[in-house]
Amino acid sequence: MAKKKGSSTRRQKRQLERDIKKSNANYTKGLDNIFYSLKYKLSSQANKKNITEFEAKFPGFIEGKVLPRTIKELRSIGKLYSENNLIREVEWYHPILKKYAKEINEFLQLQLHYECKFLVGDYEQAKQVLKKIESICVSHWSMEQQFFIEEYANGITYNKQLLNNISSTDNDLIVNLLAIYQSAKAEKNLSILNYNKLITDFVGNFKNEQIKEYFRFKLLPFEHVSNTQNGFILGVESTSSIIDRYLAFIRIIINEIVDDQQDSQKIDYLKNVAHDLSLLINDNRLKSINSLFGVNKYIASENDKNFLRIVDLYTKGNYQEVIHACPNYLRENAYRFELYEILNKSYLLSSSDFINIFPEDSLANEIFEDVFHIITKNDFTNQSLFDSFKINSSFSNFSWSCKHFSFIINEYAFHNQSIAYIKKGFLHSPYLNPAQCIIYEDKKVSIDYLNHYKAITYDSSTINFWIDIQQSFINHGIEIPIISADEFRNVLYNIKVKQEKGKNKEALYDYIHIESNEQFSFQTRLSFYKLEILHGKLLCYLGLNDFLPALELVTSSLIENPSYSNKLKFEILIDKVLNAETEELVRNISAPILLHQYNAPYASIWIAYDNFLSAYDIEYGSQFFKVLHLFDNNKVIYFLKHICVPEVYNSSWKFETQDELDNERIEICLLLAKIDEGNKTNYFNEIAEISRGLLIRKGIKQIDESKIYVDVNGIKSSIEKEVKEIFIRSQILASVSLNEVQKLLNKKESYVIAYFGNETSEDKKFSESNIKLASLSKVEYFFEIFRKIRDKFIGSNEFGLDTYISMRIRHGTLVGEIRSAFEKYKLVTKKNSSLNKYETNRYWLSKLAFINNGQQIELDNQFNLLSSSIDNMSEEFKNKILQIQTEEKITGGYFDYSYSDDELFALFSKHFASIEEYDEFFDHIIQNLWERTEKNLLKVRTYILQELKPKAESQLFSFLNFIEDTFKKIDYAEVNELNQSMILCRTALESVFNKITTWFQRSNNKNINNFDIKLPIEASLFTLKRIYTSFSEFSPRMEINSNTYFEGEYFTQFADLIQILLDNIIQHSRLTCSELYVIIQVIERNSEICITIQNNISDRIDLNELNERINETNQIMNDLSLQDKIRKEGGTGYIKIKKILFVDLKRKNYEIKIQNVGEDFIFKSNISFSLENLQKR
């Protein structure tokens, strides 16, 4: 077999030789094949001659553009092949890195210089150094630095200008793609969460896992933990500049060595390459890799010795001297991150005030302050950790970033998670540090490192201190005390060694002893030492399997200082609490508390909470007062405050509505206010906030239930004069005798009418005792009055049903509500009115980008069809079903108020003719109209549930069938996601149609008794956010200066008014939610309220046209009559506002004024009206 393989290799080699001879530059495909064969088919050793020959014949083809002079030249030559073969790539990198060692050395030296200048905010100098670096070559690294300098020196506009310049040039695709995200990476105000999301979304666009990994490596290096594609990554970087190649190479080698110790052959090979390179490239990282394998060939510069001298001052406890020596050194060597921590700790240990030694607004200043807060464990600790993650993510390619990351992760992560990062932090360091000895697994290798270090520097206390520690690990029998540091650290580290050696009992005893030792009371009160001791004690308890004291220690410590939580997190404690095997643990109040402190999911906290309460026979948290005395007060407060919350107890089946959850929380807040009096204001504020939520929900319910409305009092007063007169005339007509009536009754030309003397039921007998007669004229008068009132009831612009249906249902709300279920899952798009076409569904089409063109077109058509079907269905419902019909106006609408003459005769004879009082007569007619309305509403509700909803479901079902038929053989997560969205949409439709059905019910409920002006604003916002799903983050600024409480019955009118104004903004500003900025101002003066709403609008809007329309609207606002326009849907709705003010709120004095829009593109409208009679009495 071996012989066969050998002969095959020879054959391939000879074939290659022939190919190289034949090859020419015009036949690039041939060259590509040769290159591919050279790189991957035969070993580089076997190929040596061929490679040299090929390189001589086609210079640059193998190496690529190693030293590009411009961004355009970056990646301009070189073939991008990668087979994800790490060893093969390193084989190819090795000679090239050696060849360009001089350029790499030059870069490494300048890089530190550049970083120092940048850190201290000297961007001009940093720019100069960057220019020098770019004179070696341009690189992705240098491009990233350009973005940083523009962003930090000149602001985001310059950053984006630079991006524009780069993107508008025809550079290599990878260069331009990376530039977009490097620019985002440099943005100061882009949060880490948004940056991560941006990159994750970008990476998610690729199907190929290797490409994903490459971009993660470049843009999220600390998130990039997988080493599976390192060969591929190096392959892609092999066409970039020498700087990028070296940086990728060194990072990958360190990752491989730290994370993958299993493959000893691979590690040996990488170690040897690193060693060989370290002979030419002066990089501390290569030396540290050597050192890891027992080869110490470090060189210490004078700068390194100065660094060590400062660290020595700290070790010996000379903190004032550290404070004196550190600033100048650190400002010159701002990349030496350890000193940020040492100086900050020295401030605390010498009780000195914190002084930020770096220039204001510089990056170093920010990092230095964050380190202070993180060490101090104060109220800013978590924010500082968060900010530090952001800085670290942005500056991930700076030399100090790994060490910075290991510092944050050590303060933040679960125990043990940080070990690999600490190792990487030291291995990535461009300079020496004695503490690096902790990364060596073999303590003898550690001591060798320290002795070598001492040999190249001097007899340092710090080195001796670390030698003491390492030796005390080696000597199992005799205790060798640690004596080289200050007294407290000597004692502390002696205990730590005991504990690490597994002597948990002794160590625990010593920790407790040191805590109570007066001599060290200053140090043990300092947060970072206190935490170190707590951490040590906790490790001892866990080592001794003593879980209850561990639980008590953690929960009490975290109640005292929540910032300790990251360091005191141990998964084993969570497991113990979750499994709660003993009664002792179930009955322990600390169990649910610990889960909350460890940020466990609410579902887990619920179990611990419910088990705990059940153990004491308590059903609700609010009943906890019964057992308060059994527990420590601080724990009770914590339990009630953080555990007894709706997110936890919503898993209980004993609460049936959200209101019940909220009311329970109010009870708990009241209890808290009693037992934690110092914080009672906070609890009362929380109660106020919950009550507000309850009130908003009530308000929305009131709005939903008030959509079917007629202003009966308005009708009565507006037609009283006219109708009452007719009624009185009809009463004057005399009756005739019964005999005459009987003769005339069945004749067509009859002119007298029989009626029941009292209002009666259908089956009452026609007899002398109860029958009276009236003239035909009286009947005709009745017809006239009834129809007049009916017409007002349904059609009055001011008071009628149709106006309210138009304002509260047809005007946008209905279509928006139906669409909301589909929009939530991005299944429908909007219609472009100018093109009369639905927009392409980019969301799903880009997700399903892998389908072929034909399928994309067909899918787009189906989405359009779905959108148009849903809109048409809603429009039909709105324009045909929700219309008024009378005997004269046949519309097919379901609000059918047709009364035939026969019906009216029957009504007259049985119910109305006997009524002698006008008010009673009017009320009876209204009552009859309401009865008719109830019948109509039932028809509408039936239509919604039996026709409209099934129609919408069937549209969705057709679409679902199309997707199933088209993609049945495609097993992609995205297709599954689309299917799932459609199914969820169907469930959402159920809720939407149920909600719409509630609009078609009459209710006399008055949910809101009184309200302040903010409540209808909040309720309107809530409704609009639900209708316009893309505006779910819509959040206008409110400046409210009003103390008036309004009468609850006006709530719906106020909410209508605000909703029209805000709806206008969303619909007409032509801006997206994030672009829109809205201010709502409310002020009261001289018994008048003034509501001003202003917002920005798109600068694409034609101002002349807009101002013309504003002038027209202002004119209409000044016109006293209310036009038919009230009932027209669309438009801006100002006429409807006028109607609300004039008719519904009965304002005689009011003003609606829209200001003309100027070049600032700010739209502003003012509405003011008198408060008289609107206030709650």
Binding site: S651, S652, W653, E656, T657, A973, N976, Q980, I983, T998
Partner: protein, 159 residues
């Protein structure tokens, strides 16, 4: 046979109820539409089998109420409560989804089945993947219900 159906999708509920009517003479089917009302029903009554949707609103959606939060793994939560409170019930999950939850809580149907089987052994009988356009779910459900019936008979005969 006394059946509790906890399902918020009306169409799906109708079809499941139709299935029972055509399969078992005079089934007694109680229908609940949320995590809370379903759980309350289980804790206050006894059933031969509980059919459970995986995703449900927390509370019943009533007029003017939106059911509070939607629970992506309501079925799992209900099973967890049954086991925790030691209320024995035979449970069949009937779902129209192949994946559940998102982010850290994302889980695929097959993984969910294994998880339910290992976590709720004795309670969980199986999962039916409901697709209204196919008949497979009917056969799958029939098989599981037959198991319940046979198991019942065996229990009675043993008893």
């Amino acid at each position: 046979m006394k059946v509790l159906l906890i399902e918020d999708d009306d169409k799906k509920s109708e079809q499941i109820q139709e299935f029972f009517k055509g399969f078992i003479p005079e089934p007694e089917i109680i229908h609940r539409k949320s995590y809370q009302s379903g759980l309350k029903e289980i804790f206050t009554n006894s059933f031969d089998v509980v059919l459970l949707d995986m995703q449900l609103p927390t509370f019943d959606i009533k007029f003017g109420d939106d059911g509070y939060k939607f629970r992506n793994l309501a079925g799992h939560d209900i099973l967890r409560e049954l086991k925790r409170k030691k209320k024995f019930c035979k449970v069949i999950i009937i779902t129209q989804f192949e994946t559940f939850g998102e982010g850290e809580n994302y889980i695929e149907l097959n993984d969910l089945k294994s998880k339910l089987k290992s976590e709720f052994d004795g309670y969980y009988l199986g999962t039916v993947y409901y697709n209204p356009s196919q008949y497979k779910w009917v056969n799958d459900l029939r098989t599981l219900i037959n198991n319940v019936l046979n198991d019942g008979e065996n229990t009675y005969s043993r008893g």
